[in-house]
């Protein structure tokens, strides 16, 4: 299971964290972020979200983000997983984990990774609602 993936299937945090922790017993703090599909957005009910990605470029960008974060924050390791396809309300979309010796670096890196992912990774989401579908424009 590679550290950076784009996949249709759901992910397991237990499996991801086991893989993250396997690399080093010097890891004192792990910060993770899980993005989920909300059932309500911009005043409308959302039944599911459809994700499209430019897979090859998204993987390049996600791998770059991981490498940059490891250097910038002095991480011991980091993982990024993004799902594509149709994701129902309440389901998991994205997983980020950053492991460091101490918690400050882990938190800073995790937040930076999800912020940058939203800016730099070519993935697009369409909200499917009872009153029609619409592509989402990111509000940073």
């Amino acid at each position: 299971m590679t550290a950076v993936r784009i996949q249709l299937e759901d992910f397991s945090q237990d499996a991801e964290l086991l893989a993250l922790r396997a690399g080093s017993q010097r890891m004192g703090g792990i910060a993770t972020f899980i993005g989920c599909a909300r059932d309500f957005s911009e005043g409308r009910e959302v039944s599911e979200i459809s994700f499209d990605a430019y897979g090859s470029m998204a993987l390049v960008e996600m791998n770059n983000l991981r490498s940059e974060a490891i250097i910038k924050f002095g991480l011991l390791d980091a993982r990024l997983v993004h799902r594509i396809g149709i994701i129902g309300a309440g389901e998991q979309i994205v997983f980020i984990a950053a492991g460091a010796e101490h918690r400050a670096a882990a938190f800073d890196a995790c937040r930076w990774l999800i912020d940058e992912l939203k800016q730099r990774v070519p993935i697009w989401k369409k909200e499917i609602t009872p009153s029609g579908d619409s592509w989402v424009t990111q509000h940073p």
């Binding site: 090859s56 470029m57 070519p122 989402v136």
Partner: protein, 79 residues
Amino acid sequence: MIQILFFGPVAELTGVRELAADFHSGMRLQDVVANLQNRYADAFRGVSFISVNNRQVRDQLIVLNDGDEIAFMAKFSGG
């Protein structure tokens, strides 16, 4: 050949996800852009980023190579 890719909101407006364009020596990115912008005016109003071979490119004067993969992309909204 130059491979042209559309995704998400752009693909929805072009109605296609992939196109091929004939390559000719000295061809620049701007040549491909001008041609497609003409054909898919609506879709191109939503294009915010262009990539060549998985790398974002801002300079449309760059010279293309045979086999290049060009993507026209709306603002990202993953995560």
